[in-house]
Amino acid sequence: MENNSPDCMQKTWIAVFSVLALLPYLPIPFEHTLFNMPGRLVYWILMTVLCLCAVLAFTLYTWGDFE
C-alpha cells in the first residue's frame, strides 16, 4: 500500500497545530478576567478562538487539495 509522508508545508502546519495543542495545557499564568470568569477560563476561551481561527485559515489554505 502506498505511503506518502507530509510535504514541507504540511509539516509546518503540523508544527503550528502541535504548538496550539500544547499551549492550553502549559502552566501559563493569566490573570485577566472577563464577565467575572477566572483568568484560566478566559485564557482557554481565547485559546479556543485562536484554534478556530487557525482551523479556518488551514481550511482556506488547503481548499484546492480537496478537489
Binding site: 504540511q10 495543542a21 495545557y25 467575572n36 484560566r40 477560563l41 488551514f58 481550511t59 480537496f66
Partner: protein, 452 residues
C-alpha cells in the same frame, strides 16, 4: 399521558420513519449496508460525524464534570474537538482515497491490508473490548433518563431503546443511521443552546452567574475540588479524544461514506463550530446546577437539577436530546462493530451483518443488567483503550518502514502498559495511564519496525 411522553414517542416514531424511508433505497451489498454506497454529502456527513462523536456524555457527563471538577472540564474536550478538524485533512482525506481505491469498508480492514491478518484481528478485538461497554453505557444512560419521565424500570426502557436502535440500523444500515444522526445531532445542539440560554437568564447574565460562583473558588480553578484536572491529566484526555477519528471505527467509517473529498473540506470547519455549540452550554448547565444545589449525590444529576427551572415542554425536549445523543452514538458503534465482525472476522455477507448486529446489541443489553456507577468512567476507558491503536494506524498511513511486527508490538504493549498503570501501578507525573500506553505503543511501533 403527559406531554413529555408524547414528545418522546413522536421522536421515536420519526426515527423509525426515517429508517423506513432509507430502507426503500437500500441495496444488498455490504458496501451499501455499511457505507450507504459512499454517497453521503457534506451536511449529512458532518452531522453524522458530530452526532456520533457526542454521546449522552455531552449532555449528562460533561455538565457533571463542570459540576464536580470545575473549569478544567473546558480543556478536557474543547481543544481536542476543535483541532480534530485538522485530522480530516491529514488522515480523513487519505483514508477516503485508500478506502475508495481498494474497496475498503472498515478501518481494521485497512490495518489488515497494510500489515497482515493477525494485526487486523488484534485491532478488531481491541475495538470490540473497548467499544462494547460504551454502547452499553449509552443504552443505560438513555434508559435512566427515560425512566425519570415514564416511570418504568430503566432496564426495561433500555431494552426498548436497544430494540429501536436495532430496528432502524437493521432496516437501512449506514444510510438510516446517518440520516437519524442528522436529526439527533440537530436536537442535541438545539437542546444545549436552549438550556444554556435559560440558565444564563435565570441567574441574571454571565457576569452575575460567575459572580455568584466566586465564593466556590475551588470550581473556578484547576485542578478543581477533587484535584482531578491537573494539566498533565487534561493533556492525556486531549490525546485520547483528538485521535478518536483514527482510533474508533464508528468515526473512521464516516470518512469512507463520503461521496467526494469536497465534503471533508466542509466538515473541516463545521465540526469545530458544532463542538463549540455543544460544549459551551455544558459549562453553564454544570455551574448552574452548582449554584442551585452544591451537594448533589452525583455530577450526573446536574442536567436534571437545572431542568427544574424549565417548563415541561422544554424538559421533554431536553430528555429527547439526551436519548438522541445516546442513540446516535450507540447505533453508529453497533453498525461499526458489526462491520468489523462481518467483514474482518468472518468475511460474511448481509446475513452475517444482521445477525452480528443482533448479537452485539444483545451483549450490550446483557452488560446493562449490571449498570456501572458513573457513565463517564467507562466512556473514558473506551477512549483510553482504542488510543493504543493510533500509532499503528497513523504509521500505516504515513510511514513506509512501519511493518506488521511493529504494529502488533505497538497495540499489545500499549494496552499492557495502560492496563498496568490503570489497575496495578501509579501513573507517573500525573498523566492518565492511557498516555503512557500511547508512548509505549509509539516507541514499540518504531523499534519493532526497525528490528524486522
Amino acid at each position: 399521558m403527559n406531554i413529555a411522553i408524547w414528545i418522546i414517542i413522536g421522536y421515536l416514531i420519526l426515527c423509525l420513519g426515517i429508517a423506513y424511508y432509507s430502507y426503500r433505497k437500500r441495496g444488498n451489498s455490504l458496501e451499501d449496508f455499511f457505507l450507504g454506497r459512499r454517497q453521503t454529502g457534506a451536511f449529512i456527513g458532518f452531522m453524522t460525524f458530530s452526532a456520533t462523536l457526542y454521546s449522552s456524555f455531552m449532555l449528562v457527563g460533561m455538565p457533571g464534570f463542570f459540576y464536580t471538577h470545575g473549569i478544567g472540564a473546558w480543556a478536557f474536550v474543547m481543544f481536542a474537538d476543535v483541532l480534530m478538524a485538522v485530522l480530516l485533512y491529514f488522515v480523513g482525506r487519505k483514508m477516503w482515497e485508500i478506502s475508495k481505491e481498494k474497496g475498503i469498508i472498515t478501518p481494521t480492514e485497512f490495518v489488515e491490508k497494510r500489515y497482515n491478518r493477525v494485526v487486523g484481528i488484534t485491532a478488531v478485538v481491541i475495538s470490540f473490548v473497548f467499544l462494547l461497554p460504551y454502547i452499553s453505557t449509552q443504552i443505560i444512560g438513555a434508559g435512566i433518563i427515560l425512566g425519570s419521565v415514564i416511570g418504568l424500570p430503566p432496564l426495561v426502557l433500555s431494552l426498548i431503546i436497544a430494540i429501536i436502535i436495532f430496528i432502524y440500523s437493521e432496516l437501512g444500515g449506514m444510510r438510516s443511521v446517518s440520516w437519524t444522526d442528522a436529526l439527533q445531532g440537530s436536537i442535541l445542539v438545539f437542546v444545549s443552546l436552549v438550556v444554556m440560554l435559560g440558565v444564563i437568564s435565570h441567574f441574571g447574565g454571565v457576569a452575575s452567574m460567575f459572580s455568584s460562583l466566586s465564593e466556590q473558588t475551588d470550581v473556578l480553578s484547576i485542578p478543581g475540588p477533587n484535584g482531578y484536572f491537573t494539566l498533565p491529566m487534561l493533556f492525556s484526555f486531549f490525546l485520547m479524544i483528538f485521535l478518536m477519528p483514527v482510533t474508533q471505527p464508528q468515526l473512521s467509517m464516516r470518512f469512507f461514506i463520503l461521496k467526494d473529498k469536497k465534503a471533508l473540506r466542509t466538515m473541516m470547519f463545521a465540526i469545530p463550530v458544532f463542538a463549540v455549540l455543544a460544549i459551551v452550554p455544558t459549562m453553564f448547565v454544570g455551574f448552574g446546577a452548582r449554584l442551585l444545589d452544591p451537594a448533589l449525590a452525583s455530577g450526573d444529576l446536574a442536567l436534571s437539577t437545572v431542568l427544574g427551572l424549565f417548563p415541561p415542554v422544554i424538559v421533554a425536549i431536553a430528555i429527547v436530546g439526551v436519548i438522541a445523543a445516546s442513540m446516535s452514538t450507540a447505533d453508529s458503534q453497533v453498525l461499526a462493530l458489526s462491520s468489523l465482525v462481518t467483514r474482518d472476522l468472518f468475511r460474511g455477507k448481509i446475513r452475517t451483518a444482521r445477525l452480528s448486529m443482533f448479537i452485539i446489541i444483545g451483549l450490550a443489553v446483557l452488560i446493562a443488567v449490571q449498570p456501572p456507577k458513573l457513565i463517564v468512567t467507562l466512556s473514558i476507558l473506551s477512549f483510553a483503550g482504542t488510543l493504543q491503536l493510533a500509532p499503528a494506524m497513523i504509521g500505516g498511513l504515513f510511514w513506509k518502514k512501519g511493518n506488521s511486527t511493529g504494529a502488533l508490538a505497538s497495540m499489545l504493549s500499549g494496552i499492557a502498559i495502560m492496563v498496568l498503570y490503570q489497575w496495578f501501578w501509579t501513573s507517573p507525573m500525573g498523566f492518565h495511564p492511557a498516555f503512557w500506553g500511547f508512548i509505549a505503543a509509539t516507541v514499540t511501533y518504531i523499534l519493532g519496525s526497525y528490528i524486522r
